[in-house]
């Protein structure tokens, strides 16, 4: 009888030990799931930078800003940025005054892991200079 009881305790011990390790894993795995991959953030950063450079290559970006065509600019960004990316763009002039009088955003709400791409723009029509801040994040 004594030996049988000792066996039961061993089994309970093993269960307890397994439970402790499993609970530690259960805490750790969601922690990893919520962590945004740095490589993903870098790819989003370069995607944002490339989109701005591509729009600026033939002066289109400057023209849209000069004509305050925010709707078209927003549409272009939505098309060119990767699917699943949320963005918010702000245009400021040389005096650090915000130029866009309406919000230029899309793709959903920005999450906690937001990165910012800054782009210096020289517009062709009036030769004005602007700082473009493109905030980006992956939506869950």
């Amino acid at each position: 009888m004594l030996r049988n009881k000792r066996g039961q305790i061993r089994v309970i011990e093993a269960f307890l030990a397994s439970a402790v390790i499993l609970s530690a894993l259960l805490v750790a795995i969601p922690l990893r799931m919520t962590t945004v991959n740095l490589a993903d953030m870098k790819s989003l950063h370069y995607a944002g930078l490339n989109v701005l450079a591509e729009l600026d290559r033939d002066g289109t970006l400057g023209h849209m800003i000069a004509t305050k065509n925010w709707t078209v600019l927003s549409k272009r960004l939505s098309i060119l940025l990767p699917v699943g990316a949320a963005y918010n763009l702000t245009v400021t002039d040389e005096d650090a005054e915000t130029v866009n009088d309406s919000s230029i955003s899309g793709g959903g709400a920005l999450t906690e892991n937001v990165l910012s791409v800054t782009y210096l723009l020289a517009e062709r029509t009036n030769c004005k200079l602007y700082v473009i801040s493109l905030q980006l994040s992956w939506i869950r």
């Binding site: 030990a17 922690l31 600026d56 030769c127 200079l129």
Partner: protein, 251 residues
């Protein structure tokens, strides 16, 4: 005295499990913390900044040449570039930035500009500026030297052929180029000079303009007068104006 080994074995197992669990959790927390630190740092690099500045310098020069070609005010070039350099320096946040520019004075360029709207069938509107930029900071040091050249040129060849005793068919061929390569024109206006003043060719009989799609345009029209000279004004797709006059040859 014998030690009760079996009674403490359970505690050792539990303690070992707790220790393993703690190691697992602390490792995950450490990895999580590291990744958060990496995300909070700026992903921009001096090379990205340099690429951005190069492209925008080109756009600025195109805009300036466009305005100069229309207003003929070549005094705006240097102040605008000084403003651009100050803007670059003010907006570099990864360290320290020093930048300067140099207007080209070689050959036919004067103060970075060449505007030769000649009488020989060749017209050119061009600007050439050299830039130097040094970026220093924690993310590395970058020294960039680059020159930006914006050139729109126009070559015109004109000839006329007699249709009958009173009427002549005039052909005006124009070749537009940007930085030496074929380019499209946004607008091309042809004038001719006969015995009197200059006249707009588009008002002439049977005026037509063909776009070959490769930077070559051909205008043809019929006149009763003798044409001695033609003038072509071209505005390219970048809004840069160029003009040239050419003698109309008899075929």
């Amino acid at each position: 005295m014998r030690r009760p080994k079996r009674k403490t074995s359970a505690q050792v197992l539990i303690l070992a499990a707790i220790a393993i669990a703690l190691i697992l959790v602390s490792t995950e927390v450490y990895v999580f913390q590291l990744s958060q630190d990496s995300l909070s740092e700026n992903l921009s690099s001096p090379n990205d900044f340099a690429t951005n500045v190069k492209l925008s310098s080109r756009n600025l020069l195109i805009g300036l040449v466009s305005n100069i070609s229309k207003d003929k005010d070549d005094q705006i070039l240097e102040p605008a570039l000084e403003r651009w350099i100050a803007f670059i320096i003010d907006n570099y946040y990864l360290g320290e930035c020093t930048a300067r520019f140099e207007l080209c004075e070689n050959g036919s360029y004067s103060s970075g500009l060449r505007m030769d709207w000649g009488q020989d069938g060749f017209g050119i509107t061009s600007a050439s500026v050299g830039f130097q930029m040094n970026l220093t900071g924690d993310k590395g040091d970058v020294a960039v030297y680059y020159s930006v050249n914006t050139t729109t040129s126009l070559s015109v060849y004109s000839s006329s052929v007699s249709l009958n005793a009173n009427r002549r068919l005039v052909n005006v061929r124009s070749d537009v180029s940007n930085e030496g390569g074929p380019a499209l024109a946004r607008n091309l206006v042809v004038h001719y000079k006969g015995l009197g003043d200059w006249s707009d060719a588009s008002l002439s009989e049977a005026y037509r303009q063909d776009d070959f799609g490769n930077g070559t345009y051909q205008a043809s029209f019929i006149l009763e007068d003798l044409v001695t000279e033609v003038s072509v004004i071209c505005c390219d797709s970048r809004d840069i104006l160029v003009q040239t006059n050419a003698t109309c040859r008899e075929d």
